[in-house]
Symmetry: C2
Subunit: 362 residues, 2 copies
């Protein structure tokens, strides 16, 4: 799923020219939201009406996969890019909302928070203009901002499936639950990595005569530039990280679109795994009888109905009033909204909530 940010940026600097929303000191309130995942990092800079003024992108920032240093660097790079486009500096920001993959564990959270805040202050002078902004630094999981964006803060469930996968939800009492997200070795069922791994296994099995032939054999070999599946161990084990393998899921989606039965079955199984993960959250939150939104975020959902249909069917069995729908806003906007809430402001009481769809960032 690709959100078109650029359309929101047609006149990004209006606020500088006597914007009525500017604070009493004459400065517009600027805030940033960052979505840091296993594949890429997205940063947005916006004003308090959540008009997006700048966007920046960089590489992966899941520190479990790339290390703390590379993760922090990616976050700083995305934020600098967004500030540059918004014609401001990180020191101008009043609040910062960040959702990161890989920080669910308290130890990881503390480690990342410390490294990140130190780097923001030292390298980007975050908080230099307004020390209060150091208090308005909100760090949470990528699942939390995905949910916040997907349901616009309302009760519901979001299924995230990119390089990794997780389901996360909230009920009307504000109780939250997650399921999945255990990483490539023993979790992330239905993720891009899982789909890619199943595709490689299907190619290997077809080669051995354990499974039927599949279009995937030719496609996977072409992807890696090899002649035969016999070469797969060589190319895979030279650099067998989930990051390097997950993009192969796009090959699976393409083969499934062309009708390959094995590829279709892989996507169907991935959908069922994602549904299982979402259902665990639904049951934990006792949402079975409620009407609520189940949304989805991440590259895997470019498969469309090939993966949505099994999810929809399976969830319907457990929660018949649930509706599977695209997210209202992308995770980075979820992060912006968290930053706005930390400022004590809410887009819900303003015009901004209604103006958001105009951003194109749906």
């Amino acid at each position: 799923m690709e959100w078109m940010m650029s359309s929101a940026l047609e006149s990004p600097h209006a606020f500088r020219r006597g914007d009525p929303d500017a604070t009493p000191d004459g400065q517009a309130v600027l805030l940033a939201g960052i979505d840091g995942g296993g594949t890429k990092t997205t940063a947005l800079v916006a004003d308090e009406r959540l008009t997006v003024l700048g966007e920046g992108r960089s590489g992966p920032s899941n520190f479990l996969r790339v290390g703390v240093e590379a993760a922090v660097t990616a976050i700083l790079e995305a934020l600098e890019g967004a500030c540059r486009q918004a014609e401001c500096t990180p020191a101008d920001l009043r609040a910062l909302g960040i959702g990161l993959a890989g920080i669910a564990h308290p130890t990881h959270y503390r480690r990342m928070r410390e490294a990140l805040l130190r780097a923001l202050v030292e390298h980007l002078a975050y908080g230099a203009r307004d020390p209060q902004s150091l208090q308005n630094f909100v760090l949470t999981t990528d699942a939390e901002i995905a949910l916040y964006g997907a349901t616009d803060g309302q009760p519901g469930v979001v299924i995230v499936s990119g390089t990794g996968s997780i389901a996360y939800g909230m009920n009307a009492r504000g109780q939250k639950a997650r399921s999945g997200g255990w990483g490539p070795t023993f979790g992330d069922e239905g993720s891009g990595y899982d789909i890619a791994r199943r595709a490689l296994a299907a190619v290997a099995s077809a080669y051995d005569g354990r499974m039927p032939p599949t279009l995937l054999t030719e496609r996977v070999c072409r992807y890696f530039g090899i002649e035969s599946p016999a070469e797969l161990p060589r190319v895979i084990y030279e650099d067998a990280t989930s990051l390097n393998i997950a993009p192969l899921s796009e090959v699976v989606i393409q083969a499934a679109r062309e009708g390959d039965a094995v590829a279709r079955e892989i996507l169907r199984e991935a959908g069922l795994e994602l549904a299982r993960t979402a259902i665990a959250v639904i049951k934990r939150l006792r949402l079975q009888q409620e009407a609520f939104r189940v949304s989805y975020v991440g590259g895997v959902f470019s498969a469309g109905e090939l993966i949505l249909e099994p999810i929809r069917q399976k969830i319907r069995e457990v929660a018949p009033k649930a509706e599977l729908n695209p997210p209202l806003f992308p995770p980075a906007v979820g992060a912006l909204k968290l930053a706005l809430a930390r400022l004590g402001l809410s887009d819900r009481e303003s015009e901004a909530a209604r103006s958001l769809p105009k951003l194109g960032v749906r």
Copy 2:
């Protein structure tokens, strides 16, 4: 499965005191067999009647997992240990049979052969006493020596399941086939690593509420010294190699013995995967109507009937005259036999074949 080597070593040096099998030049013919796997390396030194005179062990020598240098070092270490016990030096050896994991691909084979032969000559002076022994250097896959040992060179199939897994077989026409052995990322179904990964996934799923509770939760936490499954990503992703995770399969086997349904199901599924792999080999070799031995080698089979029963059932459906039995000889003896064959000698024409069971190495 553990072969008791020590019993064979009671009077290892008899041959030095005017052994009737000594060659015309008065020197006994010494040869070595090496079994190099993902977890450990075993070397045996024997005379031409395959009386085992020395045994040496070391760490893993699958170069795809530990690198060429570490693999070569492990092989040299095991061989030196075996020679020390046999009171000879590697320079005394007339032939060397080696089976290694990770060298199925020709590129890998060439790379490992070159590095290994160079190190043997430079560091252990292999070939220094008898240059012909450089010609009697037989390098092949771990699956090949496992099969050769398991069936004593007769038609049949061997299922290897340790850290990794593979099935390998030969028919009466000498045709060979393999299935599986694609490594931890997209193969090795039914291996120790696969069993361990499934156990971790079961613990994570139980924690999420996706799967029923299991005894594995407490056992896995105890194994890693953690309080809760929430800590698993931290301990696993610090060092998530198949080598570090595979030993957890022993915890699964233990829990299954104590009756845990989830652990039993994991072993049953692993058995079915191994059977599928063996069946692919059986079909390729057109053995369905033949009577032949299917043997098994590797740490996973310490699970006994918990894993053998599903294998037996599944294979019987396809090849009703196949018999699932323990291997006749361990892989390192298979390697010795290959070395013996290279010398133009065969234990089949001598007394040695009958004396072998006395070694205890069955």
